[in-house]
Amino acid sequence: MDLFYATSFVLSIISASTPLLLAASGELITEKSGVLNLGVEGMMLIGAIAGFATAHDTGSALLGVLAAAGAGIIISLIFAVLTQTFLANQIAAGLALTIFGHGFAALLGAGYVGIAAPTLPKLAFPLLSKIPFFGPVLFDQNILIYFSFAILIAISWFLRKTHAGLILRAVGDNHDAAHAMGYSVLKIRYGAIAFGGAMAGIAGAYLSLYYSPLWSQDLASGRGWIALALVVFSAWRPYWLLAGAYLFGGITYLSLYMQGLGVPIPSPLISALPYFGTIIVLVLISRDRRRTRLNQPACLGKSFHAVV
């Protein structure tokens, strides 16, 4: 029986952590290129409704995920045009994305409230999935959970070992130098923003097609913002992102678990735990100003306009 509880405990944490990890991985790449996109929450919501509507209408959850990624890219390109081509303030443009995303998801989702869509397929490895504990945890998960790990490893490899990753980091740390070397700062940033949009969209699809069985308007409930905080927490390092996402998945699960257990703390206050935790973590990580300045992409949030 203990093994049963341990298995369900770990499974719950994985399932609560994955959307954070997916969205934060995308934002990490965007920020590494020197762009701060605060619209993660909005892109997630748009991905969630695009994925849900597509999966519901076509009957295919996989098509839903693709549609979510596509919708995330399209909406993130609005942000890219505003901040990169029209040099708008990135903070304001990100907020606009979030406000628009809330409205857009509510508008399209109005007809879907309380309806279920096909859920994401599981990928069970033969034999391996039958091993106690490790089987269900490692070898019998839905495809986006595998994807979240694969993409994280790929991102880490991309940033550290590839030439393209080096250029991306150069653009984020010194766009003038990168421009002088002949790289197109604009194109690279457009690409990084679109990747962030796709990942946020997929994170949204995970929520609407797996995590929450029915469509509801406030599906993201601040997860996009927590993902943003996680990028700061990780100090822009991929594997720390993983640690952060699982820490928060753990806190989310803990708050659900405590409510189920009937702990004598009112349940709304327990629900506040992840948000409270985010503040604590931000405080702990930001205290060391020098470390933050050392790790943060030097051009984060700054506009770039090539004169020639």
């Binding site: 505003l82 304001a92 406000i99 409205g103 857009f104 905080a229 629900s271 503040i279 930001s286």
Partner: protein, 360 residues
């Protein structure tokens, strides 16, 4: 092809022209969205933007909706001028409502003339306290104010839910998640009989004008602008960034808190789980659309208040979801941010070299 060319100075024309252009483009886009949703565009826009304000009742509803937006927006404009990105207006609004509303609930029989002002002051202090957390975390621990103020929005909302479903729930409320109604002594007074226009509708523009005077004429206002536009110059001049950050957050938190307590003691009448339709976030758009200027904020507040009324009108008359309000607000901010490029840059037409020869 077009190319952006720096003007070298701010264009006075486009500083005020860009919001007008943005509103025009937004209305055009809304027409297209309405058409895509199967509603006749011209009628739909008329329903959304004009029909809500064709009656006295409509105009007073507009004033009631605009009051909190202007109060929060003018505080945010003040804050953003100092480069402090408080986006937690909704949380400070909620805490103001909780603090002031709590006082009103604990003393339901007070009949002194000063009780209502005391409730308002408590609301202001509640909003300030919530913003003070953000200031302290930013200054002492370097924690990003965007994220902390936003997390505090969620926490404030959950605290409110706890209070109205638990300790403060109305025992005679049939189990609904709401507090008892506030007493007559703790209710926002009406200022024009026969309408829903209350004290807040008068206070909001007055506060905006007061803050405009502070920003335009006082040393504090000058320091604020310098810190926002040229942080280095401000440091050389010896302006205290710490002090200004505190003032910016306390002013915007206090104004949001005031908006919150006026809203619950006025139009809402009690504490419930949904006291704000996202006023704190809409006020961000209000601040930008108003050019971070208190007088601009008044106009912007009225326009965005109209978008709430328009959403309701579109729902009732055209059977469209009232989420159209959020779309309007988001699209408006998109266009505004895009159009703002014209303030610092001009569009220059770049012609291919060859065809120029044929000029006659």
């Amino acid at each position: 092809m077009f190319r952006l060319e720096p003007r070298g100075e701010r264009s006075a024309f486009w500083t005020y022209g860009s919001p007008v252009l943005a509103v025009a483009l937004t209305i055009l886009t809304m027409g297209i969205i309405f058409a895509m949703m199967g509603a006749p565009p011209v009628t739909a826009i008329e329903t959304f933007l004009i029909s809500p304000i064709t009656s006295v009742a409509g105009l007073s509803a507009l004033a009631v909706r605009a009051a909190p937006l202007i109060m929060i927006g003018v505080g945010l404009a003040f804050c953003y001028r100092a480069n402090v990105w408080n986006i937690g207006g909704d949380g400070q609004f909620t805490l103001g409502a909780i603090a002031g509303g709590g006082l009103a609930l604990f003393f339901p029989n007070e009949a002194f003339w000063w009780f209502y002002p005391l409730v308002l002051v408590t609301g202001i202090l509640g909003g300030m306290a919530w913003a003070a957390i953000v200031a302290e975390l930013k200054l002492r621990f370097n924690a990003n104010e965007i994220l902390t103020s936003l997390m505090l929005v969620y926490i404030a909302q959950l605290v409110l839910v706890w209070l109205v479903t638990g300790p403060w729930r109305d025992p005679h409320g049939f189990g609904f998640p709401q507090s008892a109604m506030f007493s007559a002594e703790a209710t926002t007074p009406m200022i024009i009989s026969g309408t829903s226009i209350h004290l807040g509708c008068l206070l909001a523009p007055l506060l905006a004008i007061a803050l405009w005077q502070v920003m335009a004429r006082s040393v504090l206002g000058f320091q604020l602008r310098v810190v926002g536009q040229a942080p280095r110059a401000a440091r050389y001049a010896g302006f205290s960034n710490t002090r200004l950050t505190w003032i910016a957050l306390l002013v915007s938190g206090g104004l949001s808190g005031l908006a919150g307590i006026i809203e619950v003691t006025g139009p809402v009448g009690q504490l419930t789980t949904s006291i704000t339709p996202g006023y704190g976030f809409t006020a961000v758009i209000v601040a930008f659309l108003g050019r971070l200027h208190p007088l601009g904020v008044i106009f912007a507040g009225l326009l965005l208040a109209l978008s709430y009324l328009g959403g309701d009108a579109a729902q009732i008359n055209l059977n469209l979801p009232n989420a159209i309000t959020g779309i309007f607000q988001g699209v408006l901010l998109f266009y505004l941010l895009g159009a703002d490029i014209l303030i610092l840059y001009r569009l220059k037409r770049v012609r291919p070299a060859a065809p120029v020869m044929k000029a006659s």
